[in-house]
Symmetry: C2
Subunit: 166 residues, 2 copies
DNA sequence: TCTTGACTTGAAGTCAACTTCAAGTTGCAG
DNA sequence: CTGCAACTTGAAGTTGACTTCAAGTCAAGA
């Protein structure tokens, strides 16, 4: 995300083609993350910065949005690797536009929907569970926790296979 | 990942006041967890077992439910420490009853509800975001990601503070 | 009894996502 | 120009949740 075509001038202080920039400390304060986390994200390829002549990082203001996306996606349970992949759909050489973010948001929303639906299903099953005392129901909330077992191994593993178990 | 096939339910070695028991291998197969994970849970106080004369673990069938609860709670984002605390409300000396599990389920459901509501709120904000292009909205989905920032530090941190940022 | 797969232990290793540290440099206010 | 907070780096440490390993023991079918 470097180099904008429009040569924004600048006096010495902000001699940056991206326009006004912020320091890592300010980005940290505004995003609620530690500076160490931001440096870590940079090392991991989630975030980019330009440097001053002295070597200090300077971030475009759009980095705030980027960081915000990372945090929101993490809340959803995505790993940094997955988030990096998602962010890869943003343009590399220019500041992301409205449409770039819209595209990303839509994909994000799909993941969100899936996550919500999973939890709602779990809740529904738990409801049945409470109703029946959870001890003899074939469709107990805990009967088949699905997702993780599925990810981990073979087909449907049953977490609780025996009715009237105690 | 999971060690191989059927551990046997022990038949005869069941001079056990808790009734029929299963081996760690069987518990693993049925729960979708590795035996190492089950041993780890035991070390962490989340799970208990009796032992055969030879020192092998034997689990009551109710352990299946317990393990299932652990997994479901983890899905929700609880740490093992928090889960251990929740499980502490189950009786120590006897097999949990229907009512024991009902009580636990209700608390669990509250957490589930909270989590779902949080995600739904995030989704709503994201909707607004997509509608407006996410570039000048004060109530952008990413504008204030709330939870984590709140946990981490002072009051409301704004993740994206500047409209028309890019 | 023999065999073989399942089991035992404690210690060490792994992975993600950071944080902490040490020692030195930069940049801005005064 | 000085002072000092904020910045730089790479390496090592931390936490949570396990997994892997080595070296041996147990249990159940033939």
């Amino acid at each position: 995300m470097t180099s904008d075509s429009s040569g924004h001038t600048s006096d010495d202080a902000d001699a940056n083609p991206l326009g006004p920039t912020i320091t890592i400390g300010e980005l940290a304060a505004r995003s609620g993350l530690a500076t160490s986390a931001l440096r870590f994200y940079e090392k991991e390829g989630l975030l980019a910065s330009t440097r001053t002549r002295g070597g200090q990082r300077r971030y475009a203001r759009s980095s705030l949005r980027r960081v915000a996306f990372v945090r929101a996606a993490q809340e959803l349970g995505l790993t940094l690797g997955e988030i990096r992949e998602a962010l890869a759909s943003l343009p590399d050489g220019r500041t992301p536009t409205k449409h770039d973010w819209q595209r990303l948001s839509r994909g994000f929303r799909a993941t969100l929907d899936a996550r919500i639906m999973g939890l709602v299903r779990l809740r529904d099953r738990l409801d049945g569970c409470i109703g029946c005392g959870c001890l003899s129901m074939k469709s107990c909330a805990l009967y088949n926790a699905g997702d993780r077992a599925a990810k981990r191994g073979a087909g449907a593993r049953y977490l609780i296979g025996d009715p009237d178990v105690g």
